[in-house]
Subunit: 588 residues, 2 copies
């Protein structure tokens, strides 16, 4: 090794030791005849001391190096005069006796401090410099720790880690595939997996009993905020289980991770049906760090002269505790918020339950104070609370109110990143009607699609409705939701080939299509498939949740931007005519 | 859980317990009024007992199920009358009281025993059935164990596991890339990584100090025997190190794996220069489980009337201990062996050192017994030994003799799969002249190419020869060789941008090409790159070595065949016109 110690490990107990350190010049400063350099590596920062009196040449050399030079120094550990209690090595410094510049450095395009002046684009382009910032490095250290602990837990539970292939087969179900032209089988393509779904099911058919993998998956989507074309999943599957077993096993995993990585004891996860999540939160991934449940007001508000409420299929609101003193300006902001096109409400009705017991609303023209007291009672509101009410089409209104609820949660400081509220959402619908998501190929629009995926089993008692009322069939599917983020989801799978064939039929696959796309799975089911189910957890998202961040980008070493470009290596890029020719493809 | 126990855990100590088991019908047999079923899961096999006298209906039901049916049974643990000492559960059986068929099964196309009648193609097509065979499952369990222990070791040594991207940039260096057309950046392509080489170097520039990853890599090669288009590496990089540090760290890893996974204490790895490996074994990955070193005979054999030897630039041989009694037929076989086109020798000269002290050779016409005694002395041969000698062009003859040596090793039983001989091969040439490997794009032929890769550092004392005598420059590169298999290789990297630029120049890159392909790396080197180096170990090959197998295929859950096809999912396959159109490519 070019060093005897790292820059993070020397203490007062090492006084007088001869040491050699390597690292980057983080900062330097002159103080009279002295020069100090903060030498940085992954493990910490150690102060180097030079003195014109000790060694004039060396001190002058030290004054010439600038930030990010790479040094190898030798010296003696001495006690510092002015100690820095914030740095674990802050009680000592190195009296330098040997000094070597291992590499020079030009000035970085942004400052490599916890707070940086580099914008996103610049940081992405020079990601290798951004990675030197301790905040970014700590995020990736957290990721490493989470991966290790995840494997520890699953290994103890007898899960086998199995690598599934990356070059697989394109299927039209779900999102768009990335494809890879095959040179050896011209005119044919591999696809990159959106998930190892069919392989993990085949591993169960193969008797592997418990499988896991921390695995890259790929989705060629138009990238919305904070999506990446390649992302990582903790992917798991178990045989001879029921839903309850999966919930217990992975609730156990999450409790173990919170405890081992963050030292937090998380209580048992509450469970909520999809129907109740939509009813009380307008959202299948409710943020339960705060209450503020939806209250339906149709029975309370109708029958007066207020046409908006009378005509609306749904009038529904939330009670924001202690927000009665919101100013007119703040209320106008909320109205603007709900009227933004992406929220889509036509207006906002509010009622202030003042501390003096009076109630004033934005619709006093139509409702007496007595009427409003009934509203307050419906919300179980107390003096000092603010009622916020939306009206309109059922689905859209719930969705808009969900956004308003989250906005109020933010404004009232109810969404602390260091508080964690975990939840299972259960009993999802098996199917949803797809009008024509422009992200889907044309052939996939205007038909029933699997809400989870086509291998999810319906609840046994709902199977008979599969053909008659597909929309009413509930699935043995579950989502793990933490702080309003869907951390993972899964289902108990279909393991009967006839039921699987029916499912493909309902999804509009012809027998030939089903056989062509999923024949290998249906054939496998002929040979004795065990009951099985599983889950996939979004690992990037889990890391950012544990790191208390909103974005996943800084928990990925080399992320891509919203156009799917790696700004650092400048990819994707053109390839040679020769390569195209060998592959048997050309640009159109 | 649908079971209380697995099929591998019940013992005599569990007598009289009520249990529920799930699994596959492995075998069944009738014995008078009794029926026995071997129920199998991943964990073992437990015998189920039925008796017409206990429950006629159930016993008859049990007689109807055939192999690979999936059952859930309930019953009482009882002591077996005739115990099976070869099975850990062989002292007990289950007196079945509850019986449920979870799934039916048609007859598998091959027998699911350790020895199977399924050929390779059939096994690949029905891989999910092949995985039920305990030999295949055990291979994958071994792989899981090796991955866990690798991570344990590296984690303790403060390596950080970092995921590098899969969608990267195509570079012309090395083998052919798999490419992925970008829909969002039409006309441009991602490439799948042949290794995370540049990313791990950038992580070192980013101060990550120690990186590892067990990672999928991709190479679009014409598949020779036992290569896969996607394969897995243990990929590592360290900063502030010299070659010695890398050798110690990864020799340590391998010793740890042998100890923790196989219980074997492996001695310190001997080290051999590339030059000596070629001189004594004709091979840069010599199998050192046995000696049988090459002995050069030019000084001993020349100057007689034997034109073949006189004209040959090199006469070289091996001494096969105790093989003097080889029959004429066996010797003819060896001659045929070396004359095969892939070996390419023109003939084989042998000399038997008989037990009675006489020596008889195939060239007695030209050499007296006294001459032959000198040969024997050169080999340090003893009575009973057989000398095998080839002559011809230096490089070809060494290569042919290397093959003959391995063949003799096999014939003499010197290549035991349970013996492990580890070795470092050092001081590789930095560059090799490439005449025109048809696997390389045309532009890459007839020029100097990097033997390891273009980031490998030359030995400091050889740098001055980079431009004048590129072929003589040695690299700071090393291979880990076990039992004649290259398990891994790596190098100390160039970290100086000027040296890297020189290297690209020697490799025939114009400045523009170098900037276009590797600009991001050379730019990164402007900002203070630390001295660094690393290694990559072939994980599939390591697993097969530990498993005592020749092929890597059965250590990969879902391998591809020699045409790069996944026979099970029938991939690659055609994709829709719509997909092609969206991607902006068409078939040519």
């Amino acid at each position: 090794m070019l060093r005897t110690h790292t820059c993070g490990e020397l203490r007062l107990t090492d006084l007088n030791k001869q040491v050699t350190l390597c690292g980057w010049v983080h900062k330097s400063r002159e103080l009279g005849g002295m020069t100090f350099i903060d030498l940085r590596d992954r493990f910490g920062i150690t102060q180097l001391a030079f003195n014109l009196d000790w060694d004039k040449n060396m001190c002058e050399l030290a004054r010439k190096v600038s930030r990010e030079y790479v040094l190898q120094i030798t010296g003696t550990v001495i006690e510092r005069q002015s100690k820095n209690k914030n740095n674990p090595t802050g009680e000592i410094e190195i009296k330098v006796t040997g000094f070597k510049i291992l590499n020079e450095a030009i000035i970085p395009p942004f400052t490599l401090e916890d707070e940086t002046d580099g914008g996103d684009e610049l940081r992405m382009k020079y990601r290798y410099l951004d990675l030197r910032r301790s905040v970014v490095r700590k995020n990736l250290e957290l990721r490493h720790r989470l991966a290790i602990e995840t494997r520890n837990y699953l290994d103890k539970k007898q899960f086998l880690e199995v690598e599934t292939p990356v070059l697989i087969k394109s299927t039209p179900e779900g999102a768009r595939d990335f494809v890879v032209p095959s040179r050896m089988n011209q005119g044919q393509f591999y696809a990159l997996p959106q998930s190892p779904q069919t392989f993990k099911q085949l591993l169960m058919v193969g008797g592997f009993d418990r499988y896991y993998q921390i695995v890259k998956c790929f989705r060629d989507e138009d990238l919305r905020a904070d999506r990446q074309p390649e992302f990582t999943q903790i992917d798991c599957e178990m045989s001879f289980v029921e839903q309850e077993d999966i919930l217990n096993t992975f609730e156990g995993l999450m409790k173990y991770l919170f405890k081992s990585v963050k030292g937090i004891d998380v209580p048992d996860f509450p469970r909520m049906s999809y129907a109740n999540a939509m009813k009380y939160y307008g959202n299948d991934k409710p943020d339960t760090r705060f209450e503020m449940k939806f209250v339906e007001l149709n029975d309370v508000v109708k029958g007066k002269d207020f046409k908006v409420f009378n005509d609306a299929p749904l009038v529904v609101g939330i009670c924001a505790k202690g927000a009665a003193e919101y100013t007119r300006k703040q209320l106008d902001e909320l109205t603007e918020f709900v009227k933004r096109p992406q929220i889509g409400a036509t207006g906002l009705v509010y009622a202030r339950y003042n501390n003096d017991g009076t109630i004033k609303s934005s619709v006093d023209k139509f409702y007496t104070e007595e009427d409003l007291k009934k509203w307050a009672a419906a919300f179980d509101a107390k003096p000092g609370d603010l009622l916020l009410i939306l009206a309109g089409d059922e689905e859209k209104t719930r969705k808009a109110l969900s956004e308003l609820r989250l906005e109020m949660g933010n404004r009232l400081g109810l969404r602390d990143k260091n508080t964690f509220s975990c939840l299972w959402v259960l009993d999802f619908p098996l199917l949803e009607w797809n009008e024509g998501d422009p992200n889907l190929p044309e052939s996939m629009r205007g038909r029933w699609v699997a809400k989870h995926h086509p291998f999810t089993s319906p609840k046994p008692e709902d199977i008979e409705k599969l053909k008659s009322s597909p929309g009413e069939v509930r699935a043995n599917a579950y989502d793990m939701v933490i702080n309003g983020v869907e951390i993972g989801g899964g289902s108990i799978r279909i393991y009967n080939k006839n039921l699987q064939a029916t499912m493909f039929e309902v999804l509009g696959f012809s027998k030939e299509e089903a056989q062509k796309q999923f024949g290998f799975l249906m054939n496998a089911f002929e040979f004795g498939a065990p009951p099985h189910g599983g889950i996939a957890l979004g690992f990037d998202r889990l890391c950012s949740l544990f790191g208390g961040a909103d974005s996943i980008r800084d928990f990925i070493a080399f992320p891509k931007n919203n156009s799917g470009r790696d700004m650092m290596i400048d990819s994707p890029s053109e390839i040679s005519e020769e390569q195209l020719k060998e592959l048997g493809v050309k640009l159109s």
